[in-house]
Amino acid sequence: MTENGSKIKKNEWPLWEVFYQPKDGKPFEHAGSVHAPDAEMALQNARDTYARRNEGINIWVVPADKIVASTPEDRGPFFDPANDKIYRHPQFYSVPRASKKRK
C-alpha cells in the first residue's frame, strides 16, 4: 500500500450477515452482508442494499462472527446418521390398500 492508503488507519466497520423474509409467511433467506458500526445502521444499510424493490418485508442482521456453521469436511459424517433411519420416512410403512379408497 502507498503512503496515501496508510493515512486511513481506523479499523473497518464490522461485518453483518443479512437475512430477509421475501413475503408474508415465507422463511428468511440469506441475502449477503453489509458493514456497519452498530446494529441500527446495519439494519438501515441492509435495507438500502438488499431491499430497494420490496425484496423483503422483514430483515435480520447478525454479526458475521457470531454465526456458527458446519464445515464442508463434515458433510459426510455430520449428516450421515440420516441415511440409516429410513423409518423416518412415510415410504417405510405399508398400509392396507382399502384404507386409500375414498368411498
Binding site: M1, G5, I8, E12, G32, V34, P37, M41, R52
Partner: protein, 314 residues
Amino acid sequence: MDEQKQLDAFQKRIDNGETIEPKDRMPDRYRKQLIRMMSQHAHSEIVGMLPEGNWIQRAPSLKRKKVLLAKVQDEAGHGLYIYSAVETLGVTRREVVEDYMYGNAKYSSIFNYPTLTYADICVIGWLVDGAAIVNQTMLARSSYGPYARSMVRICKEESFHKKQGYEMLAKMASGTPEQKKMAQDAVNRWWWPTLMMFGPPDDQSPNSQELIRWGVKSKTNDELRQSFVDMTVMEAKAIGIEIPDPDLKYNHETGHWDFGEVPWDEFWEVIKGNGPMNRERIRARRKAYEEGAWVREAASEYARKKRLEEEKAS
C-alpha cells in the same frame, strides 16, 4: 492428499456442475483468480457511478433525474453485492478497495471515457448496461456460489437500466435534427469502447481458458462480444441509429453479424492508465474515500460509546 489429487477432485466437482461455497476446499489459484475478477467487477460498479453521476444535477427533467438517481443508487448496490461476495474468499473490504485506489487493481476500461452530453447517459444505459447483461447472465451460472447469487440479483435490476437508456435514446433519435445528431454522436463515441468491455480477443486473453475450465465463465470474450453485437444491431435499426462500423454485415453462413476490427491499441492504452478519464476517476474516488474517513471514524466512535453506556447500565 497430494496437490494433484486435490486439483483433480476439485475439477471433478466443477465438471459435475457442483457449486463451490466459501468454506469448501479450493485451489489457491481459483481463489486468487476469483478475488481478482470479482473485485475488478465490484470496482467497476462503483467507478461506473462517476460518469453518470456527472449528469444528475443537469438531467433534462425531474422524471429523468429520478430515473438516473435510482440507477446510480443501484450501481452502488451492485458494487456492494459483489464486495460482499469477494469478502467470503478471505479478504477484507478495505484491502480490495484500497487496491484499486492506491494499488494496481483494475476496473472496466469503459468508465475511463467522459460523458459529454445527456445522450451519453442514454447510450450508457443501452450499450454499456446491455453489454453488462450479456456478461452477467453468463456469470449468474458461475461455479462460485456467492458470485453467481450476486449476479442473479444484479441481472434483475440491470434490465431496468438498459430499458431506460434505450427508451431515452429512441426518443432523442426521433427528435429534432440536433437531438438526432447528438444521439448518433454519442453512439459513435461509445460503440467501440463498449465492444472492448468483453476483454481482449481470445488469443490474447491469458485468464480465459482457466476461468472457463473452472466454470467461473462459460463463454469466451469473443463469443460474448459476438452475442452482444447480434443482439444490438436490430435494436439500433429499430430506432434509426447507425452503428459506426462500415464492415458490419450479416453472415448468412454463420447466422451472426460480422464486424470490423476493434481498435485494440486504444484498449491497451486505456488499461495502462492513459485513457481520457483514468486520472480523474481515481482522483475522485480517493477524494471521496479520504474525505469520508472522518464520518466512518465518527460512526465507529459513536457505536463504541453507546456500547459502553449499555454495559454500564446493565
